[in-house]
């Protein structure tokens, strides 16, 4: 019988644990030939196809972006649900166009996001596990003190968790 556990876990007292996300890049799934996986299981880089293809940065309001990843594992059938939610403040035509572009991205996308721990994560890079725009809640707000905004949620249903993108934001082809 194969061995499942090959090591334990050591607690780190010096790891940054600040919450929140600080950047998001997306690209058409079809523009990525593969994400290269290092010996340690992390993503070391990307091979784009065509080589001129690039990721696009989607900025959002500070302290509004959250990445969540939940696993169900019934009878060893592992499903990982990944979501990224963010707020775009001030509804406008440019954002409306971007949202409709994302909604029409029916072959899916690959996402790289940064977290306030300093790590970057890549997800949606496996076939049938791509990232899609799942919901958008646009609101004008009611009172003048309410936010006029779009709340976007991206989602991927996968069999593996997102992996660390070792090169970080500087290593993203843009």
């Amino acid at each position: 019988m194969a061995t499942c556990i090959t090591g334990g876990r050591t607690r780190s007292c010096s790891t940054a644990i600040s919450g929140g996300c600080n950047f998001l890049y997306l690209v058409d799934y079809e523009d990525v030939d593969s994400v290269t996986i290092g010996a340690g299981g992390d993503a070391t880089g990307i091979v784009m196809n065509p080589i001129s293809a690039v990721f696009f940065k989607f900025q959002f309001a500070p302290n509004t972006a959250v990445f969540t990843e939940s696993i169900t594992n019934e009878n060893c059938a592992t499903q990982v649900t990944q979501t990224f939610a963010m707020n775009w403040n001030g509804r406008n035509q440019t954002d409306t166009n971007s949202i409709m572009d994302l909604a029409g991205c029916c072959c899916g996308m690959v996402a790289i996001h940064g977290e306030n721990t300093g790590l970057s994560w890549i997800w949606g890079y496996n076939e049938t596990e791509e990232v899609f725009l799942s919901t958008v809640e646009g609101t004008s707000g009611t009172a003048k003190s309410d936010a006029n905004q779009e709340i976007l949620t991206l989602q991927a249903i996968a069999t593996k968790k997102a992996v660390v993108f070792t090169p970080g934001e500087v290593g993203i082809p843009v």
Partner: protein
């Protein structure tokens, strides 16, 4: 004849991926700009193979690491003083 056969199996990029480019980290090499795979030197290919999992390495590379590959200077055993 046997020498030619030996050279044919040297580590190289698979034909169908030769024109694609890699960006990221490959062992001791850092590529901040995309580098076309067919322009990788043998040293870069060896580093790519050694620093990636089997699935990734085998997707892009074929062949064997040349047996006469010299180790980097820092890896060579040091002469006792």
């Amino acid at each position: 004849m046997s020498k030619k056969k030996k050279n044919e199996n040297v580590l190289r990029v698979r034909k169908k991926f030769e024109d694609l480019a890699f960006i990221g980290t490959s062992g001791k090499f850092q590529y901040d700009e995309p580098k076309v795979l067919k322009e990788f030197t043998i040293e870069e290919l060896i580093e790519f193979k050694n620093s990636h999992d089997e699935k990734t390495a085998n997707r892009y590379l074929v062949g064997e690491i040349p047996k006469d590959t010299k180790k980097p200077a820092e890896d060579l055993p040091k002469k006792p003083a």
